[in-house]
Each structure stands twice: as C-alpha cells, then as structure tokens.
Amino acid sequence: MRVVILGVGALGSTTAVLCRALDATLAFIDFDKVESKNLLAQAFVKQSLGKNKAEALKAQLLNFYGVKAEAFGVRLTTENVAALVKDAGLVVDCFDNAESRRVISAHARAQQIPLVHAAISGDGSFGLVRWDERFTPDAEDHAGQATCEGGEHLPMIGLLSATLARTIQDFVTKQERRDSMVGLKAVTVTG
C-alpha cells in the first residue's frame, strides 16, 4: 500500500519515523525547508538543515534505517492534488492550516480515498486523530500562528504521533479505522 503523508513537520515527520517498519511505501509531501528551529520539535537532524523537508525525511529514512520512501517538495493545491495522491491506499493529513486540510478532504471524499487527520492545539495540551468522515478542520486564530518552535510540546507531539502511527498501522494491516483523543493524562479511543 502507498501511504502519503501530507506535511512532514512536527507530527508528520515523527509519525513517518514510527511508520518505518510498516509494510507500505511511504510518500512525503511538503514544500517547506528544514530550519534550525525545527530541530527541537521535528524529526530532522542537523545535516538536513536547508533541505526540503520531504526530501530530507526521505534521505534520513534511507541513511539511518535503510527504508526507501518517496518525496515531493511541493505545496498541495487543487491543481496537483490528484497527481500527488494518485494510487494512495491511505492519505495522512498532518498539515498546519485549515485551507490545505480542506483541499485534501474535498479530493479524498470525491475519489473515496481513505484519509485520516492529525491535529494538535496551539498550547500542546490536546490532540486528535480523526478519520475524514468525522473531521472538520479548525482554523488558526490568525494566519501563520506559531506553534512549538522551541520544542516545548515535543512530548505531546510524540504521544500524538505514536497514536497516529498506530492508527495507520491498524488501517494498513486490518483496515480498521479508529479515532482517538490525546490529552495529558490519556489516549482515548472515541470511535
């Protein structure tokens, strides 16, 4: 199965590393570059500074673990979404903005592509893993709102990414679709 991860910042990159043993082909889509501030909250290493995030993650998985992946260093739009998620058995949304989430939701619903979303609150106290049929994107309070640039939310990012990775694994191996809420005290399956 081809698993396409959209956005490989904090949640996406950490989840990808936790999916490295999966019997699936991982593909990463992200237009952004690795900056030094990302090293504290994302799965990138110093040698990846300045590289495109999708390409950097692909290189890290190959160099550290011998895992081959695909990378597309572009921004997802209504024009290229069909080509980028073509043949995907599962799409994983880890975007950081509502507009991109809406683009992939519309396409996945039209094409009946399985889509799971992961999202975290700005204060790092709460996160969701939710399948598209029950998901509505939340808007930022303002465009470009910053989150976790100093790594203070890294434990929650790890917990939420592990929950997402397990959700991906359950879908790839058993076609199960489970939603979860992740708080500071518990991971709760909600559907």
Binding site: A10, A119, S125, M181, L184, K185, T190
Partner: protein, 78 residues
C-alpha cells in the same frame, strides 16, 4: 441522554447530560463551565475556572448528537 466530554488544560472527562432539543454552542459552553466549577464532572473540578475558559473552543457533535465533545481548537500538524 447525551454524553458531554469536556477537555480543558489537557484533561478530559465525560458527563451524562439530558438536553432538551438542539442546544446552541454558547449554551453548551455555559453549561460545561458551571459543571466544571461545581465539581460535577469527575476528575475535572476547577472552582475558579475563568469565565472565558471555553472561548475559542469547538464542539463536535458526533453519533447523531449523542456524543458531544467540547475541546480546544486543533489547527496544527506540520
């Protein structure tokens, strides 16, 4: 009968609630605030919960409105 789940400051708890028809988000937030302040929600007793505590929060209405989730916004991923 519905189950209202309230998440605040990283803690979540369920509260069974009898609602008379469709209740607006603003009213649900007010009800939740009173419940949390009064200590009626197990594990989530905050007598000094600020009035604006649930401003900007979202309410998900799932399973035909029998499961209600009052939670912080989750705009971020990457």
């Amino acid at each position: 009968m519905a189950i209202l789940n309230i998440t605040y400051n990283g803690l979540s708890a369920d509260y069974p609630i009898e609602l008379d028809g469709q209740v607006a988000d603003v009213d649900l937030k007010r009800i939740a605030q009173e419940l949390v302040r009064s200590g009626d929600v197990p594990g989530l007793h905050l007598p000094n919960l600020p009035v604006e505590a649930f401003d900007g929060f979202v309410i998900d209405r799932l399973q035909g409105g029998t499961r209600l989730y009052l939670r912080p916004k989750v705009p971020f991923g990457a």
